[in-house]
Symmetry: C2
Subunit: 360 residues, 2 copies
């Protein structure tokens, strides 16, 4: 059987070594004769899992000491409400950079709580989708924070700039966290749903600067309150322990593979391999300008959309799974998160070549 | 090696047959060559998992058609906020029956949103903890709903009465759902964190009567909004897919073992076995009146608390795990949810007898 490569945008594939270990110790973890998901979150063995996962993440991202790391339930959409409810304080406005579907979804939820000053960052350059440079984003004076989504999974667009502001910068990094090096100290809050580069769905990591913990809205549910979660060490409620454990395994896998700098190199090679092949082809097309192409999500269209179904069927038969584009945009999308090896991208390009030769 | 019986209060043990199946198909589920946690929640195979889990739960609990079933993130503590934010409407008051730790915790969160009319339901009969009969609970006229927690895991107290009211009854059934037959039509909302009788932590089931979906507070985060979750079929956000899948396996296990009526019989036999042994002993004591003893959580104290550590150590060595009582009350606690077989309780009683003989 050919190896299987799963290009799902999320929930996405996890490192094979992690899944193998998790399977082996599934019903007898740590010699306990039971699963890690069947023990108390307050038991010593689990507290060790929890603390190690946090420390490993701190090491991987060089998180400064004045930032708290929270392991929350829910995903990015929970944070779409949690961010304004935690950070507005007495302010009535927040800036939202709109670069695509997820940024716009964050605005929709934020508008329940504040006047969102929406800065449209989308443009086209030479007919390709691109992002207006950050120096041209018109921010408001009275905003509590500036929110943006550095990687748009659906459109395959990455924003490489940071907002130019002295306000706290809030970033939805669900689909880009741990894929490349970042300077945490430039952000006020970073949040990331786990189901792309961290672990299974049902966990959301929040990294928050400690001066931002005292601004909560009176109606904020405690389970979304950063200060409560910090004070209770992310155990105000029973946390999603199995997702936390699996994420910890992913962090250890990443460390043992050289950390974020090393995986960034692989990620750049993977993306370059795929974009270069697409660009030299007349048969496939990516509609994002090279300035803003995503490292993690590569959407592409066939010149003959009537062949989409055949493409997907033959790809599946070759073990290349979940390449169908998001229903909002159609076409194809290869999500190539950290767990996707270079060999998976090479296998995809090989298949695309063959398909082109037969059907061009 | 002796079999291992895990008496954890939650996250708790899951049926061994379920864990075995989950391990076997962990990295190659449904012949896909990948894990169920690595595929899209919107893919056909996962949608089938999701729909079957809901239908199986509906079958198990005979849920009427005018009730919606929601698979939410978070646990009961998320619902402590979600309940008032979804149900108050223009009312300013809700009734809260206080029978223990969890009921009181629900009050604390609800007080952010309403005036909670707290009805103290605790009393003592013959020196034992008990619950005042529901006919004596003084409810308010202007409450939006009546909230109670039928089973208190920490105190080991079960409330068998229902509030006498024409208002919607809201029940936190985290530690009792699926343990005995109930008449869903008597309730407005039932919610239950999964990590006791349903599946792993990180999922919460909400069963809500469909006339209660239009009362949401304007500041309610969408991820906690019953109507949004219903309209999006619990996929407003990426749901905790692996927890959903595992819960589905638990529901199938329960159906194949005769459903709720059959497991209730086993549960009553398990509880009777343990309580009867405790009651005839001078060495162990349970401080709950027989009217209100929990079927699921059996706290007990040793006559010589100085032997607690030795008891726990020797129990662990015999494969009888997680018997330590909650830190708020001390002593021991045996949680005997659906997944605990009668043999586990018999092994515990056997050990308790031996320990008593040696140390009385």
């Amino acid at each position: 059987m050919e190896p299987i490569y799963n290009f799902s945008a999320g929930p996405a594939s996890l490192p094979k070594a992690v899944m193998k270990q998790a399977q082996e110790e599934f019903i007898n973890w740590n010699g306990l004769g039971t699963s890690v998901m069947e023990i108390s979150h307050r038991s010593k063995p689990f507290l060790k899992v929890a603390a190690e996962a946090e420390q490993d993440l701190r090491d991987l991202l060089s998180i400064p000491n004045n930032y708290k790391v929270l392991f929350c339930q829910g995903g990015a959409r929970a944070q779409f409400a949690a961010v304004p409810m935690n950070l507005l304080g007495s302010a009535k406005t927040a800036d939202y950079i709109d670069g695509g579907y997820w940024a716009a979804s964050a605005v929709e939820e934020a508008q329940k709580y504040c006047e969102a000053n929406v800065i449209n960052a989308s443009t086209t350059i030479d007919g390709k989708s691109a992002i207006i440079p950050a120096s041209d984003w018109v921010l408001s004076d009275d905003s509590a924070y500036v929110h943006f989504c550095p990687n748009e999974t659906i459109d395959g667009i990455e924003i490489n700039d940071l907002p130019v502001t002295d306000k706290p910068i809030v970033a939805d990094m669900s689909s880009t966290i741990l894929s490349r090096e970042i300077d945490i100290s430039k952000y006020g809050v970073i949040y990331a749903g786990a189901q792309k580069n961290i672990g299974p769905a049902g966990l959301c990591i929040v990294i928050v600067r400690d001066d931002l913990l005292d601004l909560a809205h009176s109606a904020l549910p405690s389970i979304l309150n950063y200060k409560v979660l910090f004070e209770k060490e992310s155990m105000y409620n029973t946390p999603p322990t199995y997702a936390w454990y699996l994420s910890g395994l992913v962090f250890k896998w990443l460390k043992s593979n050289g950390g974020v700098a090393a995986i960034e190199k692989v990620n750049r090679e993977k993306a370059a391999t795929l974009y270069q092949y697409i660009d030299q082809s007349e048969f496939y097309r990516n509609s994002v300008h090279s300035n803003n192409r995503s490292l993690m999500n590569v959407p592409f269209q066939l010149a003959k959309p009537e062949l989409d179904a055949l493409f997907l069927e033959q790809a599946e038969a070759r073990g290349l799974q979940a390449l169908k584009g998001h229903r909002a945009v159609g076409g194809m999308r290869a999500s190539i998160y950290n767990a996707m090896p270079l060999e998976g991208v090479q296998a995809l390009v090989e298949f695309m070549k063959e398909f082109e030769q037969k059907n061009a």
